[in-house]
Symmetry: C2
Subunit: 293 residues, 2 copies
């Protein structure tokens, strides 16, 4: 993954404690779904996956920062992540906030120190900034928290909020298109950009990314209801306890499973034009449906 | 400043409460030192300041996010900023964390939606990412907190930390070169890059930036000792109470004032080759010495 080498280069003269916190979180045993999607999308689009390495590491850095901040006491207040204490439990809250803050510019550095042309770098950075930003991932996290705290929060903050004016189905869809979907779609697109893919090819890969993004979230919600802490490496059953809007909560378990299958089938359909070259991406789509953690 | 227009464009479909928190902080009455430095440096380097507008807004966005996060209860725990309640006091902690998180990618978007060539965008983003990152501003904030909490923190986190092995003078210099200095130097450089300035011209402007960066911090520390809350719009006298390493604390008030003067003189010397074109930057250097808030 080259994550460790990149980290070392970007952290040369940084405070040790902060580097330890970033390493602890970034190099923890995760699925690396986003970087893998990026590298496979690059190969599917007939690029050399080495070209996409800077982009792939950037995606994991943004994902990692979002986990560190989401786990904070003021946010989801989680003690466990990937089977280990969360960053603020292992270090302290200030260090965790700063570790997350440091990972954002590091992600952009990772793209900008990569092997792409300036215009491919610009496009990669734009795509990542949008997906990670206020209209993408961060916006989704805010909507998710607003759902949770609807009753407790100051009414003036909520009046006129989009999350209040729509049906639960629409609100749920909108939250997850932003919160998880945007970054998963961006993962595939950052691979396609690195490969110099045509607009047509990018749009097909984008459709694949949107499909698995929503399927991934549905399965995540199902795992929270059905799985155990040992399997997922994090606390389970917390979504319902918090009053989160979830797929099983809105649609029931059986229909949620059907929906996940539908979106995976939709993703696989998007891959058809690529034939055998898209085998890896196809396997990821199927894995998402069958994963247990 | 075009800040508001940019915000509106970047926040079109974002959650209202989050947009309110970002607007509250970003559009609050600040000095806009970093954007002004950027635009003036661009003109000094014979560029059109309009070209640098995307870069200028990016600098204010990064600066604003750093203030929001520094004010959090787990960090400096401040209730007042620019004479108004801090973001987490006006909204809540989760919203403040997310508002800060959203401003980082927005800053990169601001550069990338600007008027520069792809390679000037890449260089601007690299310079900003470095200055805002783990070896720059965030690293400086970590060192600053470590100084404050030396006694309380877990010893294993501190053993071998750079801040422990050096003299107070060196530690103080290192903290502020990162914490304030890096972003002030980057402000000038982002203007120079936008102007397409020569290496020689950039290096002179960089020297100017480093000088006013350190002078700015010395005066900030002096104001915390000597000024009142009404003048600065934030709580004063808190540095000493927290055990922060400050210039007046290490060097005394009289020598600190001398040092600020020295660094402003050093900055003005760096501007000499630019003659009359650098008048604006020269005035800022003098203003930094004389400011009262």
């Amino acid at each position: 993954m080259h994550l460790k080498q990149r980290l070392d280069r970007f952290c040369e003269s940084a405070p040790k404690r902060l580097v330890q916190a970033v390493e602890y979180s970034l190099l923890s045993p995760g699925k690396r779904l986003r970087p893998v999607l990026c590298l496979m999308a690059c190969e599917t689009a007939q690029g050399d996956f080495q070209q996409a390495m800077g982009n792939a590491c950037a995606l994991e850095m943004i994902h990692c920062y979002s986990l560190i901040h989401d786990d904070l006491p003021a946010m989801d207040d989680d003690d466990l992540r990937r089977g280990r204490p969360t960053c603020h439990r292992q270090f302290d809250e200030a260090t965790a906030i700063l570790a997350g803050d440091a990972l954002q510019p590091m992600a952009f550095e990772s793209i900008l120190e990569g092997a792409l042309s300036p215009s491919a770098m610009v496009e990669s950075c734009k795509t990542l900034a949008w997906a990670a930003g206020i209209q993408g991932m961060v916006g989704g996290q805010m909507d998710d928290l607003l759902e949770e705290n609807r009753a407790q929060m100051h009414p003036s903050g909520l009046s006129g909020s989009q999350v209040d004016q729509e049906s639960p189905e629409n609100r749920l869809g909108s939250i997850h298109r932003r919160k998880t979907g945007a970054m998963i779609e961006a993962s595939v697109l950052l691979g396609a950009i690195a490969a110099g893919a045509t607009t047509e090819c990018r749009s097909a890969l984008g459709r694949y990314g949107r499909g698995i993004g929503i399927a991934f979230q549905i399965v995540d919600d199902l795992l929270d209801v059905e799985s155990t802490c040992e399997k997922t490496g994090k606390a389970t059953g917390k979504d319902a306890a918090r009053g989160k809007l979830t797929f099983p909560g809105v649609y029931g378990i059986a229909q949620s499973r059907q929906m996940a299958k539908h979106w995976v089938a939709e993703s696989l359909a998007a891959l058809e034009p690529f034939g055998k070259r898209a085998e890896g991406l196809g396997q990821i789509a199927k894995y998402i449906l069958e994963r247990h953690s």
